[in-house]
Symmetry: none
Subunit: 152 residues, 2 copies
């Protein structure tokens, strides 16, 4: 089989994950190493290292920036897979809470965590006529803090 550069980059990253559960890359260095443009690294990451395939990407820009690739540990859990699948569509508050309940009854989260999450996704936290992330975010945080103040 004729491997593309993207295939090679994928293999490189996967083999780097043999030892540890995550690696930190420099996008520019990796691009230099494979003699490709930096954005090709993003292409590989976006097409091959998705949550669906069991990976999480985090990154930081600017001086001493990095890209961190983490291999998920629980991506074989069918419940989580299923729940994630469901979350690719809009979800009502009721349905959302049911999912949280399921996660708790499966002991994937504890009761306190369930409460926190329910707050985060409550209708009150998500009132949003036309407005923006910042407003939403502060609402969500406020809800979480109220829950914490309750002493959950």
């Amino acid at each position: 089989m004729n491997k593309s550069i993207s295939d090679l980059i994928e293999e490189f990253i996967i083999s780097s994950l043999d030892d540890d559960d995550f690696i930190e890359l420099s996008r520019n260095d990796l691009a230099k190493f494979f003699a490709c443009v930096p954005s090709q690294i993003n292409y590989v990451l976006n097409t091959r290292f998705t949550p669906n395939r069991g990976f999480v990407i985090e990154s930081q820009r600017g001086g001493s920036g990095y890209i961190k690739v983490t291999r998920m540990q629980n991506n074989n859990d069918n419940y989580l897979k299923n729940a994630l699948e469901i979350c690719s569509e809009p979800i009502t508050a009721t349905a959302g809470n049911q999912i949280v309940e399921h996660l708790m009854s499966r002991k994937i989260i504890n009761e306190r965590e369930a409460q926190l999450i329910k707050r985060a996704i409550s209708p009150k936290a998500l009132t949003s006529p036309i407005n923006m992330a910042n407003n939403l975010r502060s609402n969500i945080l406020a809800e979480i803090i109220i829950e914490l103040m309750k002493g959950g």
Copy 2:
């Protein structure tokens, strides 16, 4: 991870705060020690030792000038009240994360909970041009599940 000078300066200050609740620095001496320009100290202070993270900066110019970094002393109740107060206004992702980190450094939430919350308020979770609670909610839940799959 390749740490920036700013990261190192941050670590230095935080470790200096291990013993006492405050330290007094000489901006120029610290800059010399880290072989950087003095204003980089201000940069670190402004980006990492914010009230949101539970720090107070005081300083004096001129001869025998100094910079004093104090870790806020308070009870948990006040931290939460304070955070809630902040949340009455829109909040950027950076500021939101700082609040979460502060709650964690105060042991009000543990690391796993902090990760969950950060996910819930991440820009990715809250992409919302004009949209509705259901979309947002599913985004937020997806993020939380991804975090759980990581195996925090």
